[in-house]
Structure formats: structure tokens, C-alpha cells
Symmetry: C2
Subunit: 112 residues, 2 copies
Amino acid sequence: MPGTKVDVERVFHALGDPTRRAIVERLSEGPASVSGLAAPLGITLTAVAQHLQVLVESGLARTEKRGRVRTCSIETAGLGALERWILERRSGWERRLDRLGDLLAEPDKTES
Amino acid sequence: MPGTKVDVERVFHALGDPTRRAIVERLSEGPASVSGLAAPLGITLTAVAQHLQVLVESGLARTEKRGRVRTCSIETAGLGALERWILERRSGWERRLDRLGDLLAEPDKTES
């Protein structure tokens, strides 16, 4: 879904499931058919299709149907949203470290 | 838990819950007491304690008791594990892009 705003809430929900995480791990190595995803995971095509639906809605995968074969690929929007969320958390504690650094660099007024 | 190997499975499970994510978002801004976390979230101290337990076990938070007050802070190990998981996925598709680039750069043998 290009142009669709990715909700980090959906991304966390999607990746909280180990099977969906395994699908994303597999797709990051290259595109795969639905049956190509199902076989190593030992799950049904229907189960893969349901997981894919969640992954597509959270911006982690996309699917394309050519004739009778549906090809699945990684979508970077979801992982990008996840990265931004982590960076925002990191910037919070880095700001605090900066403030602490400023405080320690201040001349000690009690000694003057 | 310094030195403890953080399991990305636990991190995803922990952050799949919106309340726990809100706690991590709050702690990334600075340490807080259990009651300081409970008030803005509108949940009980017991609920906060249960969520904190999950966050501590997944390397996302740590708690320290001084007298009667338990102070909670962010722990970077869990977010680090999450970042590494994303980087591994990203390196997968970047390798594929590199291979595609090599392929396109090869001289076209059909024309010689």
C-alpha cells in the first residue's frame, strides 16, 4: 500500500507473532510464493494467506498476483516505522545524557 | 539484567502491548516511580508492576528499590536487540539489491 501511513501499533502487533516474524525473515531474503512460504513453516496455505493479510495491512509485505501465482515480497514501510519508533526512544535518553553532560560541565557555584 | 542475552521474541511480545509500549515511551524520557507510571496511564499499581516484570525480563526496563520507592528506568538491551533484528532484515534485501546491481553492470554477452 504505497502512500499509506503505517501505524507502528499494527507493526508491533504483526511482529509479535513468531510465524509472521518468520515470514518477514524469509521475505527479507527474497520474494516467495505463498506455497513457498507455507512449506518450511509447516502451515497451510490458508494460514499463510491470513498472516500475509496482517503483514500487508501493517506495511511489512506486499503481494502481487500473476496468473495463478501470488508472489510475496518484503515492504520496507513497516520496518521503517519500527526503526523510527526506536530512534524516538533513543533520542529521549540521549537528550537526558546531554543535559547531564551540560550539568556536569557547569562551574560549581558552591566553590566560588 | 546486565550480561543476560536478550531474546528478540520476548521484546516483540513485550512491545506488542500498547500499555507496555506507553511505559517504555515514558521511561525513555527519564526514570519514574511505579505510581508515577500508573497515574497518567490510569491503571493500578499492580498492573504497572506486572507490565514492568515483563519489560525487565525482556531487557526493556530495570527497577531499583530505594527504601520504599521503586524507581524504574529504561534498559537499552531490549531496544538494541530489536534494532539488530531490523538491521538483519535490511541487510538481506540490501544484499539482493547489490546482486541486482552487479547483474545489471555485467556486459551483455548477447550483444558481443
